[in-house]
Amino acid sequence: MSIVRINVGPVHPSTHGVIRLVVDVDGDTVVNIEPHIGMLHRGVEKLAETRMYMQIPPYTEKLDYMAPMSYDEAYVATVEAAMNITVSERAQYVRVILLELQRIASHLLSVGFFCNDLGQMFTGFMWAFKDRDIILDLLQEAAGSRMFYVNMRLGGLREDLPADFEDHVLQTMNYMEKRIPEYVNYLEKNPVFIERTKGVGVLTREDAKQLGVTGPVLRASGVNYDVRRNNPYYVYSKLQFTPKVLQEGDNFARYKVRMLEIQESIRLIRSAIKLLPEGDAKGLPIKLRSPNPVNRISIVNRELPRGECMMYLVADPQKPYRLSIRSPNFINLAAINHLAKGGRFADLFSTLGSLDLVMGCVDR
């Protein structure tokens, strides 16, 4: 059979945003994939050079619109590192709680989308969406907004947690703990799900390192690295965090790592709330003039839901000289050709779903 070149996207039901894949197909086998990116390129790195320090969080947040709080925090932490600002004990705990809540929301969405990419009639997606909404309610309580928070300030947060927030979080965590086994039963007892995910899109440990993938994709391939454990920030070292690592490296392992991380996040939130100290979590208010940076170059690594983000900041007074963002999705997407080549055409989309891409983050 001759090779057929198919254009998938930029508008396609399962490309998770505007990405265009030029796929060469031989019968039902994928021969080559050429991802075309850049359709959501907003030049955030360049824009950052023209804005003052605390004008930038709204931009960085919109990179990963499925987990904005994480990017918000990663950027603010970079500026804090440049200005040598320490975060108060309580604010550290509050940030950990909010980040882990954001991680649960993001991973739920990823699992839901993954069901969709496997050709399900939106059932897993809707379940996940509903549960994600409950988490978003909590984040709204803390930050005042559902989607884009701009909640982090230098040295703390915009506002301290509202009263009763801890109780609400604990209630939600109890609910989530009941829901997770339902997802696991529903998905992992389905023979078609197992058949479509196990042994599909395999990424070995060596290839994972070579291709530079990060986050759940890296851990599903057996590399035991999580910034929260290996390079701990805030209070993660006190909360006895253990990364979830699987060896298989296939689509199922990537899904499973996310499921296990949700459970780990629930545990982290519980223990963080137990240890939450009294005090003030409020950070510096945004003023026309921010403190001057002390360090010229600061590098900050953060474990976002989709992988490791690294911000490289060259600081000028009042505004960044250069902000370079290492986006986890960018490098995960670069691995798609290796993952889906030689596989079935149908598996291309489930593999793409298992990478959990957000195109805003890829293009920056």
């Binding site: 050429e34 075309h36 990116i37 850049g38 359709m39 390129h41 030049g43 790195e45 360049k46 023209t50 804005r51 003052m52 390192k209 070579q210 291709l211 530079g212 590399v223 035991n224 690295y225 290996n230 390079n231 026309l288 003039r289 590098i299 690594n301 490791e308 690294m310 490289y312 060259v314 007074p317 009042q318 505004k319 000289y321 250069r322 370079s324 290492r326 960018f330 490098i331 670069a334 293009d363």
Partner: protein, 125 residues
């Protein structure tokens, strides 16, 4: 760690054999009189990061490719050459990575400006 461009490939491959086998990112900073290309490498065993800086003269902008040592360098190098105009020698780039781009100006260079630029109080003075 600051190194010369000539030693880049040998340094990166030596570090790979020493355990720095994960390329986090290749990026660059335009300091007007010179451009710094920055390679960030990681050792998973000791969870240590290493920063390699290569200083480039704007009149002689090119870098040897490290794609044979780290496959993940592929997209980073392409992004670098589109955003900074640094020519990557020794590799084949099939097309522009970020599209709709004529390739005459390089957006992340400091010389690239557009429309209304926001100025801080100090700069206005």
């Amino acid at each position: 760690m600051k190194i010369e461009r000539e030693n880049l490939m040998s340094t990166v491959s030596r570090m790979k054999s020493e355990g720095f086998d994960y390329l986090i990112k290749i990026t660059a900073v335009d300091y007007a009189d010179h451009i710094d290309a920055i390679y960030l490498l990681r050792n998973f065993e000791s969870s240590k990061d290493e920063v390699i800086e290569v200083s480039l003269d704007p009149s002689d902008l090119w870098l040897p490719t490290v794609i044979n040592i780290h496959k993940s360098a592929d997209w980073y190098e392409r992004e670098l050459s589109e955003m900074f105009g640094i020519e990557i020698k020794g590799r084949h780039a099939p097309r522009l990575l970020l599209e709709k781009w004529d390739g005459t100006e390089f957006p992340l260079r400091k010389s690239f400006t557009w429309g209304a630029q926001y100025k801080t109080k100090d700069e206005i003075k």
